[in-house]
């Protein structure tokens, strides 16, 4: 787990930008059906304030948002 170093660095930088924002769940790397790497930003709900801070692209990499709900230990 081929993963562009660029994507990893971009993810880490985006974490620093969003970590304190209300409704933020996390940031990771995913791959769309065309095989293109993207950054995925997960938020608690559709109205989470953090969404206003999520850029459509970050350091040249497309950013996708996903509503994930509140994470809890299972």
């Amino acid at each position: 787990m081929e993963m562009p170093v660029k994507a990893q660095r971009a993810k880490e930088a985006l974490v620093k930008r969003l970590a304190d924002q209300p409704g933020f769940v996390g940031v990771g790397i995913s791959q769309n059906p065309a095989g293109q790497f993207e950054i995925v930003v997960m938020v608690v709900e559709q109205t989470s304030p953090v969404l206003a801070k999520v850029p459509p692209r970050w350091q040249g990499i497309p950013v996708r948002t996903q509503v994930g709900g509140v994470p809890r230990k299972f």
């Binding site: 995913s30 995925v40 994470p71 230990k73």
Partner: protein
């Protein structure tokens, strides 16, 4: 008068059932403690106070053959020959002229899904927790997979999460682990292992790399090197994007999912003692409905080749989070038992 199976149930039949039920109920109430003791020991006794399972209206069976005749039907745990039952303990052959039929059906227990039952030897994917005396409350998690010590290959452990086997850092090394979990009826006599080591959790969004713990089996023969309803694992591998995976867990059993994200840093995961940040984990979405639910923590995530790729620890309404397994195995100095 005979009561045909093909006619409506008569008021006389219902009255007979109610009368017999009320007579037997007084016996049940008098012998409640004795009945519970014997049933827990899986022992039988002809007294209706112990033996009675239920009462209703059904078809009379004679010598294992249906008769097409309606009767008051009494179900008992074990049917005894009439000569072995004292006169006072006998269920009458009829009530108010209505025939009574007695049938042995064994003791009735609540239905438990396979992953919540007691099993020996203990496979992965099964219900487990610390014993009640170690934590003071009942809960349930999953003993995910059997692993062995890299330095002492004959030492065998159950791998799960810190929050399952170490009560979020609060359990003492040596605390007993039971299978099934206390929430699923696990008692001190169901002890199979003892907490051996765990990776401490840090709170308030301090970075963590894993939520993991191992409990050493008291008897290595008590461990089965399989994952319930999945089979024997073949080893350990790194997770990859869009990989189809399965898990066997205490709450939802075997489910399928797809790894949708890796190197995911998740924040604000709700634990008992605060919020937890976990770095570089995988995000899994279920193929059909939820991939996991509470109680599945500790489940092993398995790829199509049987390799363990992750250790489930958290989730939300829509996704599941799991820790890459190689990181866990390396930190705890164990290997997957294949």
């Amino acid at each position: 008068m005979t009561h045909s199976l093909f006619r409506p149930v008569s008021a006389e039949m219902v009255a007979a059932k109610v009368e017999l039920r009320d007579r037997l109920l007084t016996r049940l109430e008098r012998q409640a403690v004795r009945a519970l003791t014997l049933r827990r020991r899986r022992q039988y006794h002809p007294s209706p106070g112990v033996n009675l399972v239920g009462i209703g209206i059904g078809e009379k069976i004679v010598a294992a053959r249906p008769t097409s005749e309606l009767c008051v039907k009494v179900l008992v745990a074990r049917k005894y020959p009439r000569g072995r039952i004292s006169r006072g303990d006998r269920i009458p052959a009829s009530v108010g002229g209505v025939p009574v039929d007695v049938e042995g059906v064994g003791y009735v227990r609540k239905f438990q899904p396979p992953n919540q039952q007691r099993r020996r030897p203990v496979p992965g994917g099964i219900s487990g927790s610390l014993a009640i005396e170690a934590v003071g409350f009942r809960y349930a998690g999953t003993l995910g997979v059997i692993v062995f010590d890299r330095d002492h290959r004959d030492v065998v452990y159950a791998l799960s999460n810190n929050h399952v086997l170490a009560n979020e850092n609060r359990a003492a090394v040596g605390a007993g682990a039971v299978q099934p979990a206390t929430l699923d009826g696990g008692r001190p006599t169901d002890r199979v292992a003892a907490l051996d080591r765990f990776v401490p959790l840090r709170y308030n969004n301090e970075p963590n790399r894993m939520d993991a713990a191992i409990a050493r089996f008291d008897a290595p023969a008590d461990a089965a090197r399989v994952i319930l309803d999945i089979g024997a694992p073949t080893g350990a591998e790194d997770p990859t994007l869009n990989l189809l995976v399965r898990k066997s867990g205490r709450t939802t059993g075997v489910t399928e999912g797809i790894i949708r994200s890796v190197q995911f840093d998740v924040f604000n995961v709700v634990y008992e003692q605060g919020t937890v940040r976990m770095d570089d984990v995988m995000v899994i979405e279920g193929v059909r409905g939820s991939f996991s639910r509470p109680g599945d923590s500790g489940s092993a995530i398995v790829d199509p080749q049987g390799n363990v790729v992750g250790l489930l620890f958290a989730g939300s309404d829509t996704v599941t989070f799991a820790i890459p397994i190689r990181r866990v195995l390396q930190r705890l100095r164990v290997s997957i038992a294949t």
